[in-house]
Amino acid sequence: MTRLLEVRDLRVQFRTRDGIAEAVGGVSYGVDAGRTLAVLGESGSGKSVTAQAVMGILDSPPGRITGGEVLFRGRDLLTMRAEQRRRIRGAAMAMIFQDALSALNPVITVGAQLAEMYEVHRGMSRGDAQRRAVELMDRVRIPAAGQRAGDYPHQFSGGMRQRIMIAMAMALEPDLIIADEPTTALDVTVQAQVMDLLAELRREYAMGLVLITHDLGVVADVADTIAVMYAGRIVETAPVRDLYRRPAHPYTRGLLDSVPRVDHGGGQARRGHADHGRHGGHESHGVHGAHRGGKLYAIRGAPPSPLTMPSGCPFHPRCPRAQEVCRVERPPLYEVTTDAGTDAVANTGADTESGIGSGIGSDGRTSACHFWKEELHA
């Protein structure tokens, strides 16, 4: 079965004054129709750039796609003609942006912006398009949609704006939606509503959803699969429950541990760092303090600059589990098997890609850590 979207070994470079920065260094992930893939990572990990490259809206120059494939229903978007790609955008795949205020045109009423989708792609008359626009606003639960269609974006609240952004992306019922941090600009109560709406619409239209976020809380409820990115690469891919229960990469564990919890603070996940705190010898590994009322765990250091990528594993300067091998040898994407944990060791390249990012069902876990087994069983 061809997957809805499959990204293979995508590489994006930015030419800057200080040299060439490889913002995305061989990312592979995939999502099936009706499934949600969450791409998790901190700022600058390359998750948004990957999405822009997939959508074909990367600013070039300075950005440049230097390798890889983006297969949408089996067809490579990167080799497609620009005009053909444009027809796919909006109609078959659409994107939701982080800040709806800046992503909506300030001088056009929201009704007209929504109607434009129908006029441009479907060739509807203005009146029909307007009617559809109001229906759509109603569909994303904007109160008094008919009256508000004539309002400008800045006259809406943040949550309502994001609903309109979602409505625009949904307008032509695309097969795939890429949502780039759709809730980051919203306050917490509204975040939940918007995520619920997004999940509901995804279910209803059986779309594939790529959810880009740095918020672990957002991901847990909606995603089927999670791909964790670090320094322009995928470091771990796993079904959502497995990842939360037993992360197979120290970075993932670090992320999970840095989320405050109100339940039994010490949790299972934290024990791993109890063993390795001494390697780091850093006070932020005060693992036992991660309990409620104690000190919250933080991954020490800062993400590397794409211009000066560390040798070996890019995470090693911050990793509590780092060994000599991590400094020298870049870990390939190992296939993670949860049962015995004995086989594995596939190399990066073609042979692993089939398994990467698959949804639940095929186990399809991968981890780019030499010590994934230790991490998994920690």
Binding site: M55, I57, R86, R87, I88, R89, G90, A91, A94, M95, F97, D99, S102, A103, L104, N105, P106, V107, I108, E116, M117, V120, H121, Y152, H154, Q155, M165, M168, A169, A171
Partner: protein, 343 residues
């Protein structure tokens, strides 16, 4: 500033249609100032009727209505805008129908009265050929306004089209266009005018318009390019692309309306300078040529007689100054209204 206020009263009385003079207009805070009471309600009823909310008092804050309606809201209350707009309206009207206020013939000369001062029915006196200075000053508005508006339209359209495309597409097209613009920037206007226009024999306005467009578009294109480059970076442009808008659509519907404000401001101010440029060129004998009636030509022929017949010079020169001033004031007011940083 009492003087401009007085001017406005006269203009308002003369031109603005009388609104329904409902009383109680004194609420408007913008209206405070040394104003005649009788005039107040008339001027204030219009904005007031449209916005019942304003009656609640307090300065009407332009709360969220988009750039253009905010700007209009500001402009309506700006005395500078009202004064300059009324002057310009008046000038445009007499440029189209000079016979409305001047019944004479601008070409009719009575040599017996050459250089005579004001006389009954001839308030501005006579020029060197015994023609009526008042009539010629009124008829001279047509040339100046035509040149100003046509040259500005031409330069604005050409400049924003080229600059906008350069800003949007970037790359070699941008580099090429910017260098071409630099070349035209490098041409000294007067020298260029003397060289280009001295070979033109036609006395009509079009060679002058063409010349001003030729030298004026680079200024507009730089502004348009910069503006488009700024707007292009905005998320909504990327969002439009992500939702499948074509280049043309992105440029016309999403970028142009958001990038046009600086171009309008610069073009309005440039209009005033273009009018004075036309007068300068005509003065030097390379712009408009007789029998076209132009302030520049009249100033030129009067300049030699300044000591024995100053009225020949002062009236066309005064008309020119007021016209240029009105357009520059309008440009200033529009800039203040469109620049969100000044709010």
């Amino acid at each position: 500033m009492p003087e401009p206020f007085d001017t406005r009263y006269d203009m308002t009385e003369a031109i603005a249609p009388a609104g329904g003079g409902g009383g109680g207009g004194a609420v408007d805070p913008a209206a405070s100032g040394p104003q005649g009471l009788k005039d107040r309600p008339r001027r204030l009823t219009l904005p007031w009727r449209k916005e019942p909310g304003r009656r609640l008092g307090g300065p009407a804050a332009p709360t969220g209505r988009g750039l253009w309606s905010d700007a209009w809201h500001d402009l309506r209350r700006n005395p500078v805008f009202i004064v300059s707009a009324l002057i310009i309206l008046f000038l445009v009207v007499i440029a189209i129908w000079p016979q409305l206020i001047a019944s004479g013939n601008p070409y009719h000369g009575d040599l017996a009265r050459a250089q005579d001062g004001p006389a009954p029915g001839h308030p501005f006196g006579y020029d060197l050929q015994g023609r009526d200075v008042y009539t010629r000053t009124v008829y001279g508005a047509r040339a100046s306004i035509t040149v100003g508006i046509c040259a500005t339209l031409g330069a604005a359209l050409l400049g924003s089209a080229l600059g906008g495309l350069a800003g949007y597409f970037g790359g070699w097209w941008d580099a090429l266009l910017s260098r071409i613009a630099d070349v035209f920037f490098g041409i000294p206007i007067l020298l260029g005018g003397l060289v280009f226009l001295s070979v033109v024999t036609s006395g009509s306005v079009w060679p002058v318009v063409g010349f001003i467009v030729l030298l004026g578009w680079p200024q507009i294109s730089r502004i348009a390019r910069g503006s488009v480059v700024t707007v292009k970076e905005h998320d909504y442009v990327q969002a439009a692309r992500a939702l499948g808008a074509s280049s043309g659509r992105t440029l016309l519907r999403h970028i142009a309306p958001n990038a046009v404000a600086p171009v309008i401001v610069v073009a309005t101010i440039a209009l005033g300078t273009y009018i004075s440029l036309e007068a300068t060129l005509s003065f030097l004998g390379v712009g408009l040529k007789p029998p076209t009636v132009s302030w520049g030509i009249d100033i030129s022929s009067a300049a030699t007689q300044i000591r024995n017949a100053p009225h020949m010079l002062l009236w066309p020169a005064g008309a020119l100054s007021i016209t240029v001033l009105a357009f520059i004031m309008l440009g200033d007011a529009v800039r203040d209204a469109l620049d969100p940083k000044l709010r």
